[in-house]
Amino acid sequence: MTARILVVGEVHGSRLSGPTLEALGKAREVSPGAGNVIGFLAGSSARSAAADFGRYGVPEVWCANDARLDTAPVGAIARSVASAAEAAGASIVLVGGSTFGRDLTGRLAVRWNAAAATGVTEVNLADGVVRVRRPVFGGRATETRRLEGMRFVLALRPHAFPLPADAPTNPTIREVAPGELPPNLLAPKRTGVEPVATGAGPSLTDAAIVVSGGRGVRSPENFPLVEALATSLGAAIGASRAVTDAGWRPTSFQVGQTGKTVSPQLYIAVGISGAIQHIVGMVSSHVIVAINSDASAPIFKVADYGLVGDLFQLVPALTAEVRRVRGL
């Protein structure tokens, strides 16, 4: 079974976002063959970003070239995506696992009358049925779901896929009209953006690597140890509830059941004992490293690799080694 897959592009700067590239790579794997994967872009920067689709072998990009879509809520964009998918003869719309991608999936599923799933880690096509695997319960279990019908909208789990290889081509640009946009979908206004409070690093839920500190760090004055390791790895900084409850770091840093759920490629827990509260928020990380002085700490039960020892010696040594290897 081959299917035509429309990948909805999200643009950061003038380039396709990381989650979009993950979706593009997955689409090429699910439906190989020339012309099976096509792109979609909305807004006034659509045409310039279309070249980026071409870089990864997408021969055809549908553009809703309308400046009203630059800052419109996702509901306005879903209409153009549905029109493009219809016009292009796509049966699957695939999006990256960003906040935009997930919001779009819900709107588009209704608008385009499609079966939908988010957080998808595997896609299989057979006999007109789409099967997806997706982690549930904070990564504590995985379900396989059978989707039926003629149309499907899937959002991937972020950071679960490699980026596609270059396969440069010069894509054909096709215009899709956004059509009548109801005034109420254009009335809301985005009035500003406050950058994430982690400084220059990536945001916690978006990062491929997260370094978190816990009670074992002992005081807020010692937290720069954790930050230095995070910086050396280009990682986001997280914290256990003990740390945010004590006010060493703002609540926005908290990883766990009552904080953020993260699933990076690499999670390093520094001085975190591993209360279930914390585990629930990070257990679906691909690789977990724990650094703790207590060999019986529960964190070592969920970690893949452990260093048992004094974090005040181990973390600076690790930071130095990472910097050396990365040539920083």
């Binding site: 906040t99 819900g106 939908a116 099967r131 396989t144 406050e194 690597i209 060999a295 070592f300």
Partner: protein
Amino acid sequence: MEIVVCVKPVPEAETRLRASGDGTAFDTEGVKFVLAGYDESAVEQALLLKEAVPGSKVHVVALGPAPRTEEVLRASIALGCDLATWVDTGSAALTDPIAVARALGKAVATLPHDLVLCGKQAGDDESGLVGPALGELLAVPDFGYVVDLRWDAARSCLTFRRATEAGLEAWESPLPCVVALQQAWNDPRTAKLPSILKSRKAPIAKAVLDPAAAGSVNRSEKFELPPPRTGAKIIEFKTPQEAAEKLVRILREEAKVFP
């Protein structure tokens, strides 16, 4: 302001997960259900708005089987919601998130609704589709990942912030709209005993939905638990430098996650 909050019962966080006998789905036998965490934030936000805007009413709506769905509705009434509607799916659960949204949307459409609130996702299936799907069904804008919400009476618009990859986006929107809450930055209240007792007798409007006739095109085929983690491979070392070198080598060559 007429506020509708959609809520869902989910297994409490400490639940030991099990697959059903045939392995196709999550086994709910003997599981205790509670109000989903983000939905609790949505209820709290609804009650804060009701307190801030005189003459407001909060109508809580839930879909699902007995007795858990009725229980979360009564829990929401005990917290301060004024009215409740239960879309009763009998003994079976409906797990196609879009079919759920369609049924909820049908119920919400019959109620006065200036603002529709829900959690950004439930802690069990983590789909996050009901909020945006409700927006499309009700033909209003929807906003996900919202962390705080205020009503600007002078300008007749909602002002709120959303946590996205770009940071905290500030927005303003006229009503009606749908807002999916990420996390209340205030502590959700707890119900007081007299309210809990009173909520047991509160009337709940009921609509019956046969899950088999709900247009479901998304079904669970398999529910799997990961093999139990065998515990960390403990790296032996004599000096911190040796520990660091060994770990970096493993992350590069074995785990292949070094940047």
